[in-house]
Amino acid sequence: MNACKKSGAPAPATLLTFTVPDGWPQPHYNFAGNPVTKEGFELGKKLFYDGILSKDGNFPCASCHQQFAAFATFDHPLSHGFDNQFTLRNAPGLFNMVWLPEMHWDGGINHIEVQPLAPITAPNEMAEDIANVVKKLQQHPEYPNHFKAAFGDATVTSERMLKALTQFVGMMVSANSKYDKVKRGELSFTTDEQKGYEIFQAKCATCHAEPLFTDNSYRNTGLPLDPVLKDYGRMRITGNSADSLKFKVPSLRNLYLTFPYGHDGRFYAVRDVLDHYSDGVQDGPTVDPLVKNKIPLSDADKFYLQYFLRTLTDSTFIGDKRFGPPQ
């Protein structure tokens, strides 16, 4: 190390390994054009926690994506953005992102690397301009050195910023819940959890497919349109009326950390969501056939389901110091 420093050549970046959990499919994004290095990951972390990406300095990525809430916004139906504005939708948790073929509730983002551009430029989120972010980072006393460590020279580009953020967020894998430990044979479900798991497999697992607990499809689950938000979901992206009111099926991992629920956070409790499926589904032309006639769930079913869903909480993930604020 000392020899490296003395020679004047920049120390080569240290490669980090991304591991696919046993039994999981290969991720959609595999870092092929963006090898993860310690330096790139640390730069991504610094950017993620730094308000410099926002217009007034108050809204880092981490303001809406909090680790203790599995990187959703804790206890907020909608998050807060620039100038006392609400976001349009409930901030999803950030984990297992590289398995997502598309991002956002409406699937408008087709590649993980370009996702940060959306919140950075949204006037009700970080409200910044991409060229201005690059300029601020280039003029910053520390960032050019971090870019040099990660990418070989001190030039700041939007591409490098986005790749560093992708290294940090892409490494966030949540695969150590009780459910995972049961699957690995390290623990067993209790009787109640096991009953809940069986109900889950019979009535929920088509859309919330294991092991990621989503099939990444877009569906209308019969939630009536919010008259203020007027959010038609996937139709905003495709322009196709057949996609009206369809939203991405969210993962159920870390469910109990990411309340409230639904694309606009209208449900505060898991029980509210279950009640919606058993009694609340409002039919309409694009409502999904699987929920159109509601899902028959008894009180006991709901009770056991909640026991099972609690096994999806990954306390290792929310305590993982690698993903916490830079020290």
Partner: protein
Amino acid sequence: MNAIRSCFTGLALVIVSLTSCQKEYSEPAKDHSFTLRFRPVVQDTDNILEFGKTYTNFFNEPFEVRTFRFYIHDIRLFNTQTGDYFESGREQHFLVDAADTMGSRINMKVPSGTYNRISFRIGVDSVRNFSGAQTGALDPALGMFWTWNSGYIMAKLEGTSPLTGQPGDVFEYHIGGFKAPDNVIQQVTLPFPSQQSVTLGKDGDTEVVIAADVYRWFNGVHDIRLDTNPVVMSPGPLAKKVAENYANMFSVLIFYFYL
């Protein structure tokens, strides 16, 4: 004997270089400096577009322009008779910006030959629309990327007109979309003026001026009126109509030969 051998050697070298030229277009035989210069105009190819000046479109709607930019890629020069051929490829993209003289010039090295057509594609190759973070002409910081619905704005025309009914009287045409049936990428093939062929010799330097006429955005194939369609900001049938209009905005004006 020696003379004959060296003659053969020389011939062999020529063959080798020609072969490699065909396989890899970036090889050194491409020795003619060729510059495309786009001239933004309104209606008449001598009427150079000025930002902030009032013009009228085909429907007699007054408008001013403040932004006029478009991507092109896959530039080809060819000759329908001789088969001489050059292509820049689908990877390299160029952003032409009427606000920036240098941004409206594209310089390439092309193999010497006799050409009578130029073609290019307007927009960003579909693959580059889902390839993640990119730099150079495709840097999203250039303001030609939709952040909420991933994909490039392939051409942009913005300005004002008292007829738009929008805040600040603006009209904004942000034209993009790379998926069928709303793919707006347009192929343009232009003959040279007066059906001429142009010989680009070795070591030369040639500039071709191509007019890009904003007047053609509003009509030609489809009627796009400022009072009824002042804003196009997402992929879809309307964006495609605008693209089918502006696909006809180009014409080759003149060649300049420098020694």
